[in-house]
Structures are given as structure tokens and as C-alpha cells.
């Protein structure tokens, strides 16, 4: 990833709208293993896109690249109209410096499969850390915002507890509040229910449902909860070996899948559940 001609990766305009997230011919490989093969994917502002697919299909990599936790080997990712891991200089795209990366990262929030809360901080401190020390907010303001968000995810009463005293579902709800406290434009949910006991999955999915219903956030989600994905997504992308094999509205993709691999995957999932 050295210099790249900007014109080779035009940020496509659909009418007036620039997509909030746009992958342009993005390639990712580890040695000889190609994880993503020239991926093109646009996500509109306020859209909820769910990525499904067998393990190893590259779906989690899509989210991790957006959060800049993985580098990309080729192509360009645009977020909110700007290249994510590149900067434009004299009509060329060059590798972004850390200041640009920090600016771009501030537009994105992520929730992880294993929550990744800071274990030595209370729920409230977890939520306040970013607003105070990254956004430069006063402690009072950050506390108010964090308490509001903890109340929204139903964790107001547990705000002074450390993560070790919380159940998985509770920890994940705190993690969602923590990510939202940074006011991201794009939220990424990476298998956020996969590590949870079945009986607490609902408390996390309900929070995400509420976010979809009440907020105009752009969201990308990787999940194995097909029913949940069907309910709340605007669009489903089925990934197969580093490519989008098929995509469409939940009704299209679950109701009438066109490709054989999609049909096989969905019937295998149905049998398992």
C-alpha cells in the first residue's frame, strides 16, 4: 500500500448521497491466504447492514479493517467521504499518518464478541474514559452523558460495579454504552451475542433494536442470530470466501436466496438451530 491514484477509486455518488462507508476493491490477505478479495461494499447513512457467512469467510475482517485494527493490502475504504487509511496528497492517496487515523477512528465505534471492558474500571468509568481523555469533555459532562447511556441500556443501577461483577449480557450492554459515549457515526457489532448464554442474548439484541429504532446510526453487524438479523437489518450480505456471494433485503435473502451457496448456508443454519 504505497501511493495510489485517487481517480482509480472514485467515491461513487448515488444521486446526492455519499455513502457513509464505502469499500473500493479492498483486498486483505495473510501471506498466501486471501481473506478479502477485491471487496466492493457501500453502506448508506443510517443503514443497518448485517454480514453473515460461514467462519473464515472474512466477515469479521470487514469490521476490524473499518476500526483500523487490521491493515488493508489493496483498495481504499471511505468513511464519511474521506479515505480511512489513506490521505490525499497531490491527487495521490498515501498511507495515512497517525493524526488522520485518529480523526477517522473518532467516527467509528465498535463492540466486540468478548466485550473487552476495562476490568479495573467500573461500568461508569469505562464509559467516561473516552469522552474525558479523548474528546476532552469535562468530567461532569462526561458523567452525565455516560449515566444517560447506561440508563438507556438498562445498566444505570450497576454503574459503580466492576465488569467482574456483571453477567456477560450486562457487560455487553455497558460496552455498547461505552462505544456510544464517543458519539460515533458508524457502529460496528462484531458477533456481540456469540459469547453470551442463550437466556441473556435478548437483553443485548433488544438494546440494538432500540438503537435501530430511535437513532439514525449507520451500523454494520456480524452475527449468527439469523432471526435477529432478519428483523432489524435493511440489508443482508452473505460472505463466502472473501467475497459477497449474495446480498439483498432480509426478505429477499432469507425468503428467496438465488445462489446455491447461500441456500446451503441458510439451510445448514436452520438445521442447527
Amino acid at each position: 500500500m504505497n501511493t495510489t491514484d485517487v481517480s482509480a477509486f472514485p467515491l461513487r455518488l448515488e444521486g446526492d448521497a455519499i455513502p457513509m462507508v464505502s469499500f473500493k476493491k479492498v483486498t486483505k490477505s495473510y501471506g498466501n491466504l486471501v481473506v478479502l478479495d477485491s471487496l466492493d461494499l457501500d453502506v448508506a447513512e443510517g443503514e443497518m447492514v448485517t454480514v453473515i457467512g460461514p467462519s473464515g469467510s472474512g466477515k469479521t475482517t470487514v469490521l476490524r479493517m473499518l476500526m483500523t485494527l487490521e491493515t488493508i493490502n489493496g483498495g481504499v475504504i471511505y468513511v464519511d467521504g474521506e479515505p480511512l487509511t489513506h490521505m490525499e496528497r497531490d491527487g495521490k492517496l498515501v498511507r495515512a499518518d497517525s493524526r488522520h487515523l485518529r480523526k477517522m477512528r473518532s467516527k467509528i465505534g465498535m463492540c466486540f464478541q468478548h466485550f473487552n471492558l476495562f476490568p479495573h474500571m467500573t461500568a461508569l468509568e469505562n464509559c467516561m474514559e473516552g469522552p474525558v481523555h479523548v474528546l476532552g469533555m469535562s468530567k461532569k459532562e462526561a458523567r452525565e452523558r455516560s449515566e444517560e447511556l447506561l440508563a438507556m441500556v438498562g445498566m444505570a443501577e450497576k454503574r459503580d460495579q466492576h465488569p467482574s461483577r456483571l453477567s456477560g449480557g450486562q457487560q455487553q450492554r455497558v460496552a455498547i454504552a461505552r462505544a456510544l459515549a464517543m458519539r460515533p457515526k458508524v457502529m460496528l457489532f462484531d458477533e456481540v451475542t456469540s459469547a453470551l448464554d442463550p437466556e441473556v442474548i435478548g437483553e443485548v439484541t433488544n438494546v440494538i433494536r432500540q438503537l435501530v429504532a430511535e437513532h439514525n446510526l449507520t451500523m454494520l453487524m456480524v452475527t449468527h442470530q439469523m432471526g435477529f438479523a432478519k428483523d432489524i437489518s435493511d440489508r443482508i450480505c452473505f460472505f463466502y470466501s472473501g467475497r459477497i456471494e449474495e446480498q439483498g433485503t432480509p426478505d429477499e435473502l432469507f425468503g428467496n436466496p438465488q445462489k446455491e451457496r447461500t441456500q446451503q448456508f441458510l439451510s445448514a443454519v436452520k438445521e442447527a438451530s
Binding site: 476500526m67 483500523t68 485494527l69 485518529r102 477512528r105 473518532s106 467509528i108 465505534g109 465498535m110 466486540f112 468478548h114 473487552n116 471492558l117 476495562f118 476490568p119 479495573h120 474500571m121 467500573t122 474514559e129 473516552g130 481523555h133 479523548v134 466492576h162 467482574s164 461505552r178 462505544a179 464517543m182
Partner: protein
């Protein structure tokens, strides 16, 4: 068989107690240097600047692979040939501090590596600065698993302070030896030195375990 003289014992005890103060001071100062410098060594080995990481790693390996007493002699006797004249105390503190810093940096390295990768990723996704990530997120979690090793080396540095006697630091061993040379009685001073070391080492090890539990609770790590 035993020719133990109690009157002599009580006569030399005050001198040994004063020297114990020096031993504790040497161990404390040396350890303070080692705790800070060890962290610098550990963090330096994690920077993306390869020449620095390699240089520090090799230096740590070198220090760990050569005897402490040689390092003490080297700083004190070889230093002046390069125009670096140090008092026994200064030379001793530098040598023992560096020596234990090398060992502690390995303890810290283990502690740092025990922090799950997800913690780094969460810090990054919240856009925390590198310094903030280290000091607020990673190091507090790397500390509890390092405490047992740090405690072992605290007792270790304390027991190694007699080596400073070779360059004339007036700690316990040096004083006991001096008493022996003056009076031709070695039984009482060296026995007392052993007892004093034991009386300090044993409770220290227990206190470290209590401290470890306290830190874990304080950090909410249960």
C-alpha cells in the same frame, strides 16, 4: 563446643543494627532504581523502533548473563579509567539497580504479555492515545500478575546487598566482617547477620502476598 559469648553479642548488636539501616537503604534505593528502569527497559522493547528494541534486549541479556559482583567491580574500578569516578555507594546503586532492572524488565514483559489483545483493541477503538493506553489501561492490568515476581526480586536484591561490601559499602556484611577483623571473633557477628536477614526476608515475603491481594481488590480485579 560452642563458644558463644552473650556479652560480646550485645556489645556488637548496636553496630550491626546501624549497618542494617544501611543494608535496607541500599536495597530500597537499588530496588527503586530497578523498578523504574526495569519498566523503561520493558517498554523500550515494545517500541516500533527496531534498533532501540534490539539494543535494549541485548543489554538486558548481557546483564542477566554476567555475575552481579563483576558488574559492581566493573562500575567501581573500571569506571575511573574512563574518567568516571564514583563513590562506593553511587557505583553500588548503579550496578545493583541496573542488574535488577534487567530482571524486573522480564517480569514486566510477562505481565504486559498477559494482558489480553482485546484490551488493546478496545483502547484503540476508543481512540485512546498510546500513553493513555499504557498507563491507564494496560499497566494497571499488567501489575497484579507481575507482583509475585517483583516481590521475589525485592527479597533477592536485599539478599544481594552483601556483594556491595566488596567495594566498601558499609552494610551488614561489611560491618560484620570488620568486627571480626577487629576482635578475631566471627561466630557472633556472622550468626547475627544471618538472623537479621532471616527476620527481614520472611515477613517481607508474607507482606508482598498481602499487598498483591490488596492491589487486586483495589483495582477491582477480584
Amino acid at each position: 563446643m560452642f563458644d558463644w559469648r552473650w556479652d560480646f553479642t550485645f556489645e556488637i548488636l548496636p553496630r550491626l543494627i546501624v549497618a542494617t539501616g544501611n543494608t535496607l537503604l541500599a536495597a530500597g534505593l537499588g530496588y527503586a532504581i530497578a523498578v523504574v528502569l526495569g519498566l523503561v527497559f520493558a517498554l523500550a522493547q515494545r517500541t516500533p523502533f527496531r534498533p532501540l528494541t534490539i539494543a535494549v534486549r541485548e543489554a538486558v541479556e548481557f546483564i542477566r548473563s554476567t555475575p552481579l559482583v563483576l558488574q559492581i567491580f566493573f562500575v567501581f574500578y573500571v569506571g575511573p579509567q574512563f574518567g568516571i569516578r564514583l563513590s562506593p555507594w553511587t557505583a553500588g546503586m548503579i550496578a545493583i539497580g541496573l542488574h535488577y532492572a534487567a530482571y524486573l524488565s522480564e517480569v514486566y514483559r510477562g505481565g504486559l504479555e498477559s494482558v489480553p489483545k482485546g484490551q488493546w483493541e478496545a483502547a484503540k477503538s476508543l481512540n485512546l492515545s498510546t500513553a493513555r493506553t499504557y498507563f491507564r489501561v494496560i499497566l494497571p492490568q499488567a501489575l497484579p500478575p507481575s507482583l509475585a515476581g517483583m516481590g521475589n526480586y525485592l527479597v533477592g536484591i536485599f539478599k544481594d546487598t552483601p556483594m556491595l561490601s566488596v567495594i566498601g559499602v558499609a552494610e551488614l556484611m561489611h560491618t560484620a566482617n570488620a568486627i571480626g577483623s577487629e576482635t578475631y571473633r566471627f561466630l557472633e557477628p556472622f550468626t547475627l547477620v544471618g538472623i537479621i536477614f532471616l527476620c527481614i526476608s520472611l515477613p517481607t515475603a508474607a507482606l508482598i502476598r498481602l499487598f498483591e491481594g490488596w492491589v487486586r481488590r483495589k483495582l477491582g480485579l477480584g
